[in-house]
Amino acid sequence: MLAVQQLEAGYGESVILRNVTLRVEPGQVVCLLGRNGVGKTTLMKSIMGLLKARKGTVAYNGRELTKAAPGRRAKSGIGYVPQGREIFGQLTVYENILVGLEASRDNKLQSIPEEAIAKFPVLPTMYTRRGGDLSGGQQQQLAFARALASKPDLLLLDEPCEGIQPSIVDDIRDVIRSIKADGKTSILLVEQSLDFVKSVGDYFYVLEKGAIAWEGGLEALSDEVIKKYLTV
């Protein structure tokens, strides 16, 4: 469903990604691994459209999106939970989720769908609080709910467990598993914790110096691969 072909992108003069080719199939959880600074977040941003591609293409469900603005990509069914969460600090929790409805393809949808918040029972109890006043873990759950509100087919998760206490990491793992079990939404996940990705991932890509250095399924992700590409 998501097909990235020979993508090249970067900031200003510097090229961060060169020749990246990657696919996400329906219902799959695809994990993107790599050491710090190899271009994982840059790749997520280029898939979302925050960063213009210099070369190559991004296609989604057969539709070419390389030149499309982030808003159009969101409306074609891509949900995004960015690194650092990017909650609207001055909007209430409720309003934050309502903004997530903007990309909804179901025009009649006026209220927050049940499945977006069912996995985060703590959120409805603090609807009236400002997003910026929440703790990091609560903001992460809010970012998830906000992305799920538009019922996306593909969810881009950029380090969802960064700086979060272990119990909420477990919650997030459960959420990813239940999304996977529903089978309606694919996930492209960037995550540092190997245990975490091994417990949820179907297919793995390893980025090194802005290019895909290795790819394969769970059984192929051996200790040698980990030692070669991921150990610091």
Binding site: A69, A74, E86, F88, G89, L91, V99, S150
Partner: protein, 301 residues
Amino acid sequence: MEVIVLQLFNGLSVSSILLLIALGLAITFGLMKVINMAHGELIMIGAYSTYLTQNIFNDYLPKSMFDWYFVLAIPVSFLIAFLFGLILEMSLIRFLYGRPLDSLLATWGVGLVLQQLARSIFGAPNVAVTSPSWLDGGVTFLGSVLPYKRLFIIGLVALTLLAMYFYIYRSLEGRRMRAVMQNRDMASCLGVSTRRVDAMTFAIGSGIAGIAGCALTLLGPIGPSLGTYYIVDAFMVVVLGGVGKLVGTVLGALGIGVFNTMFEYWTNASLGKVLVFICIVAFLQWRPMGFIAMRSRSLDS
């Protein structure tokens, strides 16, 4: 007693005028962070729109209808200033987001162009707008006469403020607007059309400047350089109140208006203004963010 009531009313009246001219700027400068030096000229456009509406009523409609021109002039001023704002945003401002110094110079230039445009169309001398007769006179309260025109402006400000509050904090469009102003990239990633929101927001701020211009015609004759008298005050109110908060703008206008009236009563007009400016400078030394500073765990702005 009479003196106190009159001074209080004067303070309130000056505050209401300050607030009206600053409300539009609270959006274009406060929310969008565009240093819009053409704000005064958008006020001027609103004033001339009222002048035109009056002339059309004078020329084409029976005398008995004339008094009602002002009711129509308010939406007309809003609409014309709105359109000017929309054109300005789409042709110039959108290239200048995040570049405050450039936008300051460019909008100042636009202001000069608009002033010359008004001079070419309507002539350099001031023109008079006849206030509707139902605003003549005043109500006597505790021995002092409170003019209807001033009361009307206070009411108009209250109404504009209420409408803005509902638009910004209670409507779908307002929510989009706040999301975009806080985090443009994230809002676009969630499917909000940031271009549309930017254009609409700037146009609405301009339209409210137009309403201010309409109200100013009640206070005296209007001319092409009308806006230049008010632009400094407008920025002062927004900065003093705290950029980005509607409540702050209200407090800023009240503060400047009431103190200005008091100082002018105790001294004279020019010394009063000097004292107010000194107070503002001193206050901003103490609280650089203004009356209402936005505080949050995520210090994103």
